[in-house]
Amino acid sequence: MPDLFLAMMKEEWRIHSTIFGSLGFAFFPVVVAVFAFLGSLALPLFRDTLPYATVALLAQILFLMMGVMVGSFGLMGREFMNRRFGQASLVAYASRSLPVSERRIFAAFLVKDTVYYILLYVLPFAAGFAAATPFIALDPMVGLLAFVSLTLAFLVGLSIVCFLSTLYAHSVRLLAGTVVVLAVLALAGLRLGAITVSTALPPYAFFIDPGPGPLALALLLILVPSAVSVLFVTVEYPDRTKRFNNCLDPLAERLRALGSAHFIAKDALDLLRSEGGAGKVIFSFLLPLGLVWVCLSVLIRFIPGIDPLVVFAVLLGVISATIYNWLTEFDSFSSYTFLPVEVSEVIDGKLKSYGLASLLPVAVLALAAATGGAGTFLPALAAFLSVSAYTLAVTVYLTGLHPNVMLYSAGVFLRYLLAISPALLLLIFASIFDPAYAALSLLLVLPAALLLSRGRTKWQAWEMPGY
């Protein structure tokens, strides 16, 4: 078991350092800690509208979801690994070729995920927060408490997704039945008032009121699903072969006028058919937008004269650029290198797909304008379109067709922030004087065009590594 664990730890490090570069990846926890530190320093500013308990709850949910994502990736991320590294062969998938039981491999895998991601995310985040506690009049012990409770939240997410995936591996009906039973119990609990935030999320309850009760409940939520997952693990997944009629041609015909229609049609099919289609939208788009609304409601109280629609439009422009990440997530240039296709042609196709997908954030903006602030809709729209184009151009220039991988490199991420933050802040401050100044954002179109042009040239010259 220790050998397996160590091999998996090395493997995980090598996967990440191969993708992001050893130094770039080694700095990732430092970036997390710095952001947590700076964010914690700002907490007193928002205290009236965003109490510490609410911040703690948001952090707990964030780490719970992180556990879910790590678990999901570990169990279902083979597709991604294959596309990044060719036919991936990881220790976790090797129970058929090694004289080690699936159960032992899976147990070691769980322990590895626990240790590795606590070191990568939870510890730096808690350390950043702990370092800020003396400056925001909090007991430094709260930092330790944050570390323990966030670790518990992360592990609850991880163990639940492992449990559900084990059920899925045995039978979809078993999984569906369990989800229905849990949902009915949850609804009943809510109706009877037996379920509160604290009982639903014991790590949060432990953070608010440390005691053996919430701790025991949190441990129960971690250990029982994990133990069941390990005991009943199976790698014999049911057949999930999917069949579809030819949708590429009809879709490409409809998009013909745009040019690169087959690339756009392929992007659309990738998005629609890939796992977690709706989940991707929720996590990378609607969830950040929700957070933006929360933050805006705070800002409006502190900065009089601010136009919420314009600020929302600017931030929407940045968040919308994550659409490019969806569009490139399941595509790899290795699928094109042997065809008469240039990198720049694929990028152009993605840009057109991005343009079409941007109708969604425009609709969100129009909806926001309709609920109040229609008077500044035009400058807000200009701000959204320009910022979205500029952020996209920066992303393309820095990461080419690999934003999902390269933005996690500390160096690239820092350059991304440095390129975007000043323009963003200037626009927001200008709009405080007069919302109409948001139209100045149109000036961003020029650097955006320049960056896109240079990005196309830069990535055209790029060569697939490996031999």
Binding site: E79, G86, L248, H262, K266, L269, D270, F338, V341, Y467
Partner: protein, 238 residues
Amino acid sequence: MIEANDLTKEYGSVTAVNRVSFSIAEGELFGLLGPNGSGKTTMIRMLTGQIRPTSGSARVMGLDVARDPIRVRKLVGIIPEQETPPSFLTAEEYLRFVARIRNLDRVDERCDRWFDLLEFREKRDVLCKDLSRGTRQKLMFAQAFLHEPRLALIDEPLINLDPIMQRTVKDFLRSYVRDGGTIFFSTHILEIAEEICDRIGIIHNGRLLHSGRIEDLVGSGRHLESFFLDLVKGDTGA
């Protein structure tokens, strides 16, 4: 059809291909043989403009590959080492996608021909990610020959195929060459080369150790396996 002059590819301190020169005439079936890591895949990637040589040059169908990689890839068919069709297109959609990239007409007819020849019609509506490796290799074969190229470059042609399909593919390659096509393929399986090649090259540590006709080798009374082993084991890399 192919003319390589002093082709060299270096990856940092590793020289994957070291000053290799050879030429392949129209209508030849040429097999590049070598152990794993000997430089076969790098050679194919250079000849098809997927990577640029560190030094040296190559002309394919009269075109300078380094200057005109896209035109080269328009003309030739390529099967890469790893079968990587896009995950979320079906087998049929992928062939139609390639047909659109190559601006082909008679797409139904072309697709049908390959579904039938390689016997995977019943898998045409399955997502590529759900196909077996063997079927993916069939799909890669189909995409490479969809535009009926005069030259095909294939990295390990029979990988993941069952014996029946291996026979079909070998017969197809021979008939393709009989009809005037040219094939350059790489493999480390000597029996394939012995059975279907007109000419072979043996590469080791990035250097071309031998290039000659199979029938000359057989005529001299030697088996390809012993010849290959003697050559490779005797190569000190100097």
